[in-house]
Each structure stands twice: as C-alpha cells, then as structure tokens.
C-alpha cells in the first residue's frame, strides 16, 4: 500500500486509528471463519459517518478496495480483505443514539454491540429479539449486513424483520438514508430490505434504526429427550401444526449430546437420539396453555424424559446443554467448521440423518445442533487443520450436504452469509438469472467494484 494513500487515510481518521504495521495487518487478516486468512493493506477505525464517507470516497477515487468489519465474528470470510485492500473497522462508532419509546424504535451507530442494545431496551421493558450466537460481541452493522438470526428466529424472525431505517455510505462516498420510523412506507423500491444481508458489497452502514416490541411478560423452559430422531422431528412439526409457536425450539443430536456430557456433565443420557430445548414466552395464561400442549405432544411422540423449569435458575440449568453445545464440540479437536445449512422445518429428520450418514461415509466427526424450529441446523465438523486429507474430506462432505439442502428446498446458509466460503454453491441455489440480477444491483450501487469485492458471487 502506498505511503501517500496511508497518509491521506490518516488525515481523515487520525494516525492513531490508521494501522499499517505488520503485526496489526496480521491480526486483521482473519475473522471467525476457519482456514481463511489474508492480510489487508491497511486498517482504519473511523469514528463518524463523515469519516467513513471520507475513507470510501478516497478509496473510490484511488480504485482501492474496502472491506467493512465489525468485531470480526463473520463465519463466511466476509470481513477479510483478499486483495490487500482497506479494512474499515466500525467498533468505535458505538453510541446508542436514541430509544424512542413512543414509536418503539432504537437508533444506533453501526458499531453498537448487539447485547448492549438488548440490555438498554430491556431495562425499559422493551425487546429487540435477534440474538445471534455472537451477540455479546457482534455489531449491529454486522448483523444487518449478514441478516443475523439466532435462537428466537422461529417466533420473532431475524434481523431484517426489525430494520426500519439505515444510514449507508455508498461507494462514491455519498450518504444514503433509507426508511425511518414509519411502519408503512411504500415510496419507491424497498432499499432497506435490499441492503440487509448485502454483506458489505452495496454500502457501509453507519446508523441503524430498528423496531422494538414489548418484552414478553413471562417464559417457560422445557427440556425433552427422545430415544428416536424421527420422533423428535415429528414433535417439532406437530407443535407448529398445533398452532403453538415457541420462542425457542432447539435441537442437539447424538454426537453433540455425547460431547456436551463429556464436557459439562449435565446428566444427559447417552442412549438418546435427540434432545430438544423448548421455550415459550408471552402472557402467563398463554404460556401455561402452550407448555401443557407441548408436553402432551412430546409424550404422544414417546419422549423418554420431560422437564419443565420451576424457576429462572432451573431454566438456566436446563438450557445449559444447548448453551455449551458449541464449546463442548469445539474442545474435541483443534479445528471447528461450523455450518448453517437450513431446510424447511418438515425436512429436519431426513437432513440430520443425511448429515450423519455423510459423516460416516467420509469418516468425519460431525455434531449437529441448532434451531430445529426454523430448520436452521449447525452441522459442526470437528477436525484438525494440520491434517490436509481430513480437511479435504470435510469439504467434500459439506459439498454433499449443501447439495442435499438445495434439493430439499432449503438454503446453503441460514444466517452466516455467503461471503467467500459459500460462493461456489450460490449459482446452484439462485440460478443464472438470480446471479444476473444480483450482479446488476451490485453494478448500480458500486460501479467500480470497490466495496467488499469477491464476496457473495
């Protein structure tokens, strides 16, 4: 990277926040995606919309590429700069600008941590439901760019169900404001929705306005064991068919159960196929009724164990198995490949079965857990990056899993984004016309192709 260019960046964001030493560049060469790494040319940490705009305009003029990054928890390589460009880290823009209790909205700067917003709005009796696994460090801007989901997706939806307004820096440095605080707005194209899940390729968000809802009054947590996978899957379908929408409906498979038990000793039996963690929330009367209905359905499907938490402490205890699932898996081997194949809810059982068969075929250890209620599974391959043969087999296995996902009418990524990791699978999913439309949109927003190039397609 040329010195003059770095100097010009430093004039915009300050020398302290313009990093080009080899150590910094090495530390900004990764995100949370396994295997992928590439050093950027320079890193900047702007403090305002104007500073972002200044950086992007400078890059556009010089033809230098920019990759936005929040806390670097991306799981598809989306926040890595693969062509020694600029990494633009948004963490310093971390102010919650407004919680509007009359309009039930919150407006935040892009670098606000998701759980910090949760804390602030919940203190006012309000609720911002999206809760991605990384919510204690993920940024709101990153959540919008990836359209993050989480455990509460089934009942409450994902990030794009809450985005009402955005302030976005465009490729030429212009600032675009879309949406706002109004619930109804049909003026022109719905650019908010277009920008959500654009993975940094259409613009860089500097402010986000989200919808808030009243905090549910109460919740009830249940833990259920199933000796047979099919029965667990049928239970999930039948709960929904009974018009009960739990806030959380999480699933652990046999491999995950074993790893959790080895690690946390929470008393899970090793001879069951599946564990479900179910949470219903809302008005106390409704919660009671839903919980009773769920119990009846679970028993009808031959669960071997059913427990309802009697207190918040007990609820926390019941949720432990699901909460530690990733930790328990990640400790087994040095390298953890966490995927997010998503199928229609009705296909959960065949999908889990297929994952297990594929793991066996390629001699791999794959634990599957995830959001059974919305079909979003996390097959997690436990491997070792020092074993190239095993890594190759892991990629082959995931290739087959994604093909099967598409065949079942699902998607290659439910919440991690395409980035570079899933690029090869996208054409199969969206087809030639899908790609053509996406490329057209990209060209309209970013004619010089400087915004997070090489991602998605």
């Amino acid at each position: 990277m040329e010195n003059n260019f770095i100097k010009a960046l430093a004039e915009i964001v300050g020398a302290e926040y313009t990093l080009s030493d080899p150590e910094s560049l090495a530390c900004y060469g990764y995100d949370s995606t396994p295997e992928l790494q590439s050093r950027p040319g320079v890193v900047v940490l702007p403090k305002s919309t104007e500073e972002i705009a200044g950086v992007v305009a400078l890059c556009n003029g010089a033809g230098v590429r920019v990759t936005p990054r929040g806390s670097g928890t991306n799981l598809s390589g989306g926040s890595i700069s693969f062509d020694a460009g600029v990494i633009l880290q948004t963490s310093r823009m971390n102010r919650i600008l407004e919680i509007d209790e009359e309009n039930l909205t919150a407006t935040v700067e892009t670098g606000v941590i998701t759980s910090a917003l949760h804390r602030e709005v919940e203190a006012k009796g309000l609720f911002y439901p999206p809760d991605p696994g990384s919510m204690n460090i993920s940024t709101m801007g990153g959540n919008v760019a990836e359209n993050s989901g989480g455990l509460r997706g089934l009942k409450y939806g994902v990030t794009d169900d809450y985005v009402m307004g955005l302030k976005t820096v465009l490729a030429n440095g212009d600032i675009l404001k879309t949406g706002g605080k109004v619930v109804k707005d049909v003026a022109g194209y719905n650019l908010n929705q277009l920008l959500v899940s654009s993975e940094g390729t259409l613009g860089i968000f500097s402010e986000v306005t989200v919808k808030l809802i009243p905090k549910p009054q109460t919740k009830k947590t249940m833990l259920v064991h199933f000796p047979q996978l099919e029965q667990a899957a049928l239970t999930v379908s039948h709960i929904i068919a009974a018009r009960i929408i739990p806030a959380t409906l999480e699933f652990l498979d046999r491999t995950t159960i074993k790893c959790v038990e080895d690690y946390a000793k929470v008393g899970l039996p090793l001879d069951v196929d599946a564990v479900l963690l179910i949470e219903v929330d809302g008005h106390p009367a409704q919660v009671e009724e839903d919980a009773a209905g769920i119990r009846e359905i679970c028993e009808r499907h031959h669960c071997s164990f059913f427990q309802t938490a009697a207190s918040p402490e007990e609820a926390l205890k019941l949720a432990t198995a699901r909460r530690v699932a990733l930790s328990a898996l990640a400790r087994v081997r040095p390298t953890t490949i966490l995927e997010d194949a998503t199928v229609p809810r009705s296909c959960i059982a065949p999908m889990v079965k297929l994952i297990q068969d594929t793991a066996k075929k390629y001699d791999l250890l794959i634990g599957t857990f995830g959001h059974a209620g919305d079909g979003n599974l996390h097959p997690t391959c436990l491997t070792d990056e020092r074993n190239p043969d095993e890594i190759r087999r892991a990629h082959q296995a995931f290739g087959e899993i994604f093909e099967a996902t598409i065949a079942m009418g699902g998607t290659i990524t439910g919440e991690h984004g395409v980035g570079v990791a899933k690029k090869n699978y996208l054409p199969k999913l969206v087809g030639e016309s899908g790609l053509r439309v996406m490329r057209g949109i990209k060209g309209a927003f970013d004619p010089r192709g400087i915004l997070n190039p090489g991602k998605i397609f």
Binding site: L19, D21, P22, E23, S24, A26, C27, Y28, Y30, D31, S32, T33, P34, L45, S71, G72, T73, Q89, S91, R92, G111, I113, S115, S134, N136, I137, V324, L326, S327, A330, R331, P334, T335, T336, E385, R386
Partner: protein
C-alpha cells in the same frame, strides 16, 4: 510453547468483550484473540519479535478474563505469559531482575528490611512533607506512582508478630496451614490477622510456618520460570512437613499461584497434593456459613464487591465472597457492574503501563460509583492497593477493605 494450544483458538471473538484492553482500544492487537494470533504467527515465522510486537504482547494484563469467556478452553493470558517466559529464558534475566527476583523476593527477611525505611518515612512525617511540597514530581514517574499507592503501613509485618500456632477456639475441627502473602503480611497485616481470627473462631488450629517464602508470582510476572519453580519446591516441602487438613490464603494472587504448583512442577513429588489442599479463605468460610452466621452481628453498610482476577478468573471463585457478605445481618449488598473486570493493578502493570492501567481503573471507579456503596470489598492485595488510592480520591470517597476485615467488623460490631 505447545502449538496445539495456539491452534485451539477458533477466532470466534467471544473473548473480546471481556478483555479490558480491547474494551479501551477496540484494536485486534490489544485483544486476546489477537495476542494468540501474534504468538502463533511468531511461532510460524510469519512475524518477528519487533518493538511493536513486544508492545502489543506486553499490553496484556494477564487478568485471564478471556479464559473465563473462551468456549474452547484457550487461556490467552496464560499463553502470552508463558510465551514471554520462554523468550526471557532464552535471553536471561537482567542484573536488576536478578537482584529483585532472585536475591530479594524469595527472602522474607530481606523484603521486610527493605520496606523498613518506608515505615520510617511514614512514621517521621516525612511522607506528609514530601507529598505536600509536591516533591514526588522530582522522582522518576514510576517511583512517584509507587509512592502514591502506598497506604499506611502496619507497625510490623504480620510474619514477625504472629505466633506459629494459633489455637482453635472451642472444639478443634481441624488444622489449617496459613500461607502469608508478602504484600498481605507487609501492608495488609490487619486483614490477614482477621483471617487467622476467623479460622480460629470457627474451630481451626492455624499453623503459620515462619520460614515460608514468596509464592513465586512475581517471578512469573518477571518471566522467571526457574525462580518460580524454586519457590514452589520450597513452599511445597515446608507445608507438606506439617500435618495440615488444608492450606489457606487470603491473597488471590498467591492462591492462584499455589494452586498451580502441581502444574509448574509437573510430576514432582508433593506438588500436586499440595496444590489440591490450597483454599482461598472465602472457600473455607463459605463452607462454614452456618457457624459463621452465629458469630456475625448487624452491620448497616452499603457494600459492593470487586472480583479480583486471580480469584474469579484464575480460581473460578465468584459466589462464595458474595454469599459471605450477604451473611452479615443488615448489610445492603449491591452488585457491581462489570464486577469481574480487572482494576488495572495486575501485578506491576500499573507501574509499567500507567496509561492503560489508568484507563482500566477509571472504568472500574465509574462502575463503583454507580452502585452508591460506601464500602468496596475485595480480596487481593494488588486490587486493594490500586482501589484504595483511586477510591479515596473519588467523590464521595469509598472505603476499600478486604473481605475478612468486613467479616471481622461484623463480629466485633
């Protein structure tokens, strides 16, 4: 350095919101994930030990909050400390380090003699004169900071005044060995005396071997692994020569180090069984909650608790101190926001990295003020030194005391 420990990091970033230096800077190089990456890339030959590299690595407080947060069981703080030890081992100790770590710290009598002039300095009123004339500005900055941290010293170190055996009050339940921390004995002897009084009142005979040496934590801080091992061997042999049911300490730093003797002296006789016997005072007292409650009288104070890193992150002790405070009738306990975040003391960090230490400390002070407490309770001498100074200067001032002092106050109320 075990390479697998480095590649176990899956770069998920869960450690970032818990790292005090990341929270202050938002820089990846100042985060646990970044530090693991730096060390790994050094091992892989991708980075060299440049000035910047050392600066980034040495910004770590080694508070190990990252270890508590890591899903994969990576302890970035410990990895960085081990890495620095290894590098130091290749280079050797400087003359000054050798003098302090090998010739001063392991000898309690020399350490006590070295602090005697300080006692005189305070007793003769010289400290007041120096402070009021602003003479500290003439000292090198680090020395000035050290002087500023110094609270009023006790008349004599506890090691000199305590008897080797303190009998149990009433029916004897067992025998506790007492490990006197250097700083506790030299500066906070009243708190350590309270520890012994509590144990004795609860029916334990307390044995305090006079020959005990520094636990070796300063050697670890100075990256002197051999010095640490010498200390570990000596103390293990000394305490194992007594018939003890357990070994108790009221210093978080010592407790964390003593519990790791088994790890440091892997396979050496006695070390593992010694480490298994070590208890923080809060662990022992929480186990005696019923009997202790009988001894406590009402204390209408607003109290909050700061988790020392060496207690919460290194030993996993969080609920016991809180339960003990809540045993006191009439106490108004208020949870401290970010209670288990480092206070910036971190061994000698507050002298070596004053700027970052002050930033981390300011955040702690603000959080303490949010609670509206009159008293901050903690249980590690480094935190006591750091927070006593900062909170005595805050408005309104907050008193800082050791957990055992609070319990003693309640007993004497």
């Amino acid at each position: 350095m075990d390479y697998v420990k480095l590649i176990n990091c899956m770069r998920c970033g869960m450690c970032l919101p818990h790292c005090p230096t990341y929270k202050e800077t938002f820089l990846e190089t100042a985060s646990p994930r970044g530090r693991v990456a730096l060390v790994r890339k050094f091992q892989e030959g991708e980075l060299v030990e440049s000035e910047k590299f050392l600066e980034y690595v040495s910004l770590c407080l080694d508070c190990q909050a990252c270890a508590s947060a890591c899903p994969c069981g990576v302890n970035a703080g410990e990895l960085v400390a081990e890495f620095r030890c290894e590098r130091k081992n290749e280079k050797g100790l400087s003359m000054m380090e050798d003098m302090v770590l090998r010739k001063l710290v392991p000898h309690p009598d020399r350490l006590e003699a070295a602090t005697a002039p300080l006692r005189l300095y305070q007793k003769t009123g010289m400290q007041k004169v120096v402070r009021s004339l602003g003479l500290l500005k003439m000292f090198p900055e680090a020395l000035g900071r050290m002087e500023g941290l110094l609270p009023k010293l006790p008349a004599a170190p506890l090691r000199q005044t305590i008897s080797e055996v303190t009998p149990a009050v009433g029916q004897e339940k067992g025998t506790a060995g007492f490990f006197l921390g250097c700083v506790m004995s030299l500066i906070f002897s009243e708190a350590s005396l309270a520890t012994v009084t509590l144990l004795s009142a609860l029916g334990y005979k307390v044995v305090t071997p006079k020959d005990q040496k520094c636990c070796g934590a300063p050697n670890m801080l100075g990256h002197d692994m051999e010095g640490l091992k010498d200390a570990a061997r000596f103390n293990t042999d000394l305490f194992e020569s007594h018939e003890l049911d357990f070994v108790v300490t009221d210093c978080g730093g010592c407790g964390a180090e003593l519990k790791k003797y088994g790890h440091h002296l892997d396979g050496e006789e006695g070390a593992t069984s010694f480490s298994a016997k070590v208890r923080d005072i809060s662990e022992v007292l929480a186990g005696e909650a019923g009997a202790l409650k009988e001894l406590l009288k009402p204390l209408p104070l607003k109290v909050t608790y700061h988790d020392p890193c060496h207690i919460a992150h290194c030993q996993g002790i969080r609920s016991q101190p809180r339960a003990l405070i809540n045993l006191i009738p009439g106490i108004d306990f208020r949870e401290l926001p970010e209670a288990d975040a480092c206070c910036g003391s971190a061994g000698t960090y507050n002298i070596e990295k004053p700027e970052m230490s002050d930033r981390v400390l300011s955040r702690k002070v603000l959080n303490v003020q949010k609670t509206g407490a009159d008293y901050l309770v903690t249980s590690n001498p480094g935190c006591l030194l750091q927070l006593k100074k900062a909170l005595s200067e805050a408005t309104p001032p907050v008193r800082v005391i050791h957990l055992t002092e609070l319990l003693q106050m309640s007993m004497d109320a």
